[in-house]
């Protein structure tokens, strides 16, 4: 590669990253701007954080989001992990059909998932609320857990487990001491993935939530449509910081799991 080409590629990459980060940086910087109108820099202030964190509507929806994401993770991780083991380790009738069905929510556009679940909930007379939101989030989180955990299960040599069994370990002990340590990091990152997918979800929630189970993205969406709001800059900055923390955490989990990036 010529030095010119190398420099051109580096410059291009810098521009791409700048484009990705520029609006985020502006958003974060202006969350500290002492101006209601959001145009020019007036001075440093923390008052938008005070505004955001004394806003009952925002706080309630943030609480709702955390609650929903926690339950969605708690339910989709065991389901997706069980599916990963079953589909990877066993052959049975209807296996391909089950796999396709379980992966369907990952392939379908969000608007289709949302409307189909709404149609179901209405047909069976289920009132919209936390239960319907959590169920719909589990529906689209399970396939992601399945795929993430399955890759790791596939890389696990069954001979290791067999050796443990031959050496006298009970099946439960072999699973706990041989299989689990290898698969655990994948389960942990699948849990993170579910949590973040659920926490960020707007469209599916839009169709399956009631007024009292509105999540943070729905609240933010409503506020953006109403216009500029420095409180939104503050809450967005908190979300960006939380994302940074989660990505760092995921990096640590992966490093501890060793090898696989």
């Amino acid at each position: 590669m010529t030095p010119f080409l190398r420099r051109a590629l580096a410059a291009w990459t810098a521009l791409v990253l700048l484009f990705l980060w520029f609006p985020i940086a502006i958003l974060v910087a202006w969350s500290f701007n002492d101006s209601r109108l959001n145009v020019l820099w007036k001075g440093f202030t923390l008052r938008w954080y005070a505004v955001a964190f004394s806003d009952a509507g925002l706080l309630r929806s943030l609480g709702n989001s955390l609650w929903v994401a926690a339950w969605a993770t708690l339910l989709s991780v065991p389901l997706g992990t069980a599916a990963a083991f079953l589909l990877e380790r066993h052959r049975f009738r209807g296996r391909d059909l089950l796999e396709t069905t379980l992966l369907l929510p990952m392939i379908a556009p969000e608007v289709v998932i949302g409307t189909s679940l709404l149609a179901l909930f209405v047909a069976v007379g289920l009132e919209l609320g936390f239960a319907t939101v959590i169920a719909s989030h589990v529906a689209f989180c399970v396939p992601f857990v399945l795929v993430a955990v399955r890759a790791r299960v596939a890389s696990l040599d069954p001979a290791l487990e067999e050796a443990a069994l031959d050496l006298g370990a009970t099946p439960a002990a072999a699973f706990r001491r041989v299989v689990l340590p290898v698969v655990a990091p994948a389960i942990a990152s699948a849990a993170l993935l579910s949590f973040m997918l659920s926490f960020d979800e707007l469209v599916v929630t839009w169709f399956t939530a009631s007024a009292s189970s509105r999540t943070l993205p729905i609240e933010i969406y409503g506020r953006i449509r109403r216009g500029l709001d420095p409180g939104l800059n503050a809450i967005s900055t908190v979300l960006v910081a939380a994302t940074l923390a989660v990505v760092a955490l995921a990096g640590l989990v992966r490093r501890r799991s060793g090898g696989s990036r």
């Binding site: 369907l104 289709v112 992601f144 069954p158 001979a159 067999e162 169709f207 994302t243």
Partner: protein, 297 residues
Amino acid sequence: MSGAGAASRGSREPGPPGRVARLLLAPLVAWAIAFAVLPTAMLVACSFGRRGTLGGVEPGFSLAAWGRLLDPTVRVVLGRSVAWAGLATIACLVLAVPAAWTIARSAPRRRAWLLAAVVVPFWTSFLVRAYAWVTILKGEGLLNGALLAAGLVSAPIEMLYTPGAVLLGLVHTFLPFAILPVYATAEALDPALVEAASDLGAGPVRTFREVVLPLLGPGIAAAALLVFVPALGLYALNDVLGGGRVDMIGNLVADQFTGAARDWPFGAALSVALLLAFAVAWRLAGRGGSLAASLER
């Protein structure tokens, strides 16, 4: 995740489920039926029903909703969705391929940082990122403020609520989706192949066209799919940045269920048609696994 894969599969072939596995199977099958099969069936049933007076649907059998798929409105919105999603895909690939290649070829430490610089925006809520563009593009926003202060314009330019703003938002939202799979392919690629091409006298353009591009092919295909498919089904972003003037197919569906139109059978027919189109697209492009595989990175 780069597993050792099936290479090290041991002596035991996957067998029929044992007692524990059968216990696991029951809830999974129940789950798949309750939250994938039944909703889809309901949607199909709904599309053949009659429109309820207060929204919802009344039982019956009618093909009216399916007939409406041929409406000119649907054609216009569908054409626009495909056009915008296509433009966004091309823009994302043009931006992503050289960047992904460069990141993959940099030294390990720097590579980790550059990759993190892509992953964090990837995980940052698209609403937050769309709102950032609103603060920049709005009439009383940052860019107009700067232009006015610099004396470059005498009145604010309308930038928000234009098709250009929607396209900008689409590219910004999906750019990381394009970079990550291309990066994954580029990283696994043997640099010696590229060196060999230039050693044998190929210029940079020829090397790129005849060596790099074919090798990156699968990654680029995955990237195109990962941008085009969600961009097509998008619902909220064009609302925030296009102000309801740049409706896409997702808006049309949502409008039938929760918006002013209130025509569930029509919305359901649109949804089913969209689902079928996506299923075909995924089928053509191989398995859905590539999505999660690139998310894993």
